[in-house]
Symmetry: C2
Subunit: 252 residues, 2 copies
């Protein structure tokens, strides 16, 4: 059984903790957080600590903490024989001076929303083959999809994820806002949103674009721009409409 000390108590840490709890190959033996109150919900399930000098002996220190806190936390750790890995998509390998790696689960984690972890792609990287192998085993303990990517590749994967998930979610929010403002039930858009997402599993998004922009329906575009009051939303509408049209034009 691979032993893990998990750093952090946020969304990523909580979902990882639950995934490892269901695993028979890897186990979280301790959760660290600098704030005691954040550890409360973990205390009945696992050993916890607020002190970096009380860390248990483990095979892996897994840092599921804010990007901005990773460097300062690692500085305070004893660089002993334990592999130290962070879960950030955008940060590179920390150093080649000691055993360290990356264990990046490519998913959007929210409190109160369960995740089927076996389908979550996990991107691993380490300085040595031995540590790659250890992270591979840790990954396999909770997921069926493990990928080896370099820091450079992972950086762009994270950028793509921001567009595909965070920015997409913001478009959902804009749609929700439009609905609420006009007294329309937002749930009427669920089948559309789900179909748009499911479509790309078998079709390139380029091939399945629909709507006024791709049809070149300038009359509807002009009307919709008039319906939008906010200058920022008008700007986004115009920008994305132009992108849809230019991209497809350049393909002709």
């Amino acid at each position: 059984m691979i032993k893990i000390v998990l750093f952090g108590t946020g969304n990523v840490a909580t979902h990882l903790f639950e995934a490892f709890n269901r695993s028979t190959q890897a186990q979280v033996i301790q959760v660290y957080n600098h704030r005691a109150d954040s550890l409360l919900s973990f205390q009945s399930k696992v050993a916890t600590t607020t002190s970096l000098s009380n860390l248990k002996k483990a095979d892996l220190y897994l840092l599921a903490i804010k990007d901005t806190k990773i460097e300062s936390t690692v500085e305070k750790l004893h660089k002993n024989q334990t592999l130290i890995a962070h879960t950030s998509g955008s940060l590179p390998l920390l150093s080649r001076a000691y055993r360290n790696g990356v264990f990046y689960p490519l998913q959007t984690f929210s409190r109160d929303k369960e995740i089927t972890f076996s389908k979550v792609p996990i991107c691993i990287e380490a300085s040595t083959e031995e540590d790659q192998e250890l992270l591979l085993q840790v990954g396999k303990a909770i997921s069926k999809k493990i990928y080896r990517f370099s820091s450079e590749q992972r950086k762009y994967l994270h950028l793509a994820a921001v567009f595909a998930s965070n920015f997409t979610n913001e478009l959902y929010r804009i749609a929700e806002k439009i609905c609420l403002k006009k007294g329309l039930p937002f749930e009427i858009l669920y089948p559309l949103i789900l179909e748009t997402a499911q479509k790309i599993e078998h079709h390139s998004p380029r091939a399945v674009q629909t709507g006024p922009a791709i049809r070149g329906d300038q009359k509807t575009i002009d009307l919709q721009l008039q319906e939008i009051n906010s200058p920022e939303l008008q700007e986004i509408y115009t920008l994305i409409t132009t992108l849809i049209q230019n991209d497809h034009e350049s393909e002709l």
Copy 2:
């Protein structure tokens, strides 16, 4: 059995045709298109015509044609006792001078991608209660979700749909482009894209936003802006990031 003459042979028309084909309450008895070649794939299944003077007697003329062609097509029709309805999200009721209505299926239809029509919301509108009732029956023949909305409401629903579907799909395309450029498999993003879409069925998009923008992680935001070469994409990145941050700030 309600008898329908279907106008159009595009994505919406084709999916509607197939849905009515499976129905026992409504039937497409003829498909009209001004171009003969577009009718080829329908000829083995149903009567077709390229002439507006050869239209069969029906309960409903259903115009699943381009927004820009609707008015000119309707002008050429005899305004007899047949209800005339279009499938456009953005166009209002055509006139109150004759029997007409709207039958707008709120979904994104692509060739070669099957649709479970029973879950597609259909928004209906008509000048009279009698015609509302007829469109309700036509809707019920293929879907379980029929909504009555005014032209004004439907206009904004369509606007919301453009953000939630067409613009979202364009973000998927940008993500795909980033992946292709860096030799990364786009399919690694599928679980993330699907989870982002599924999440909002039970949570408001506002409540489940994740990523650098909502975390206020300016370091990652600056790095990602450097990774993007295209000025248009930088502009979109900055605009949506600012929207995410401002929207949530103004809620505090």
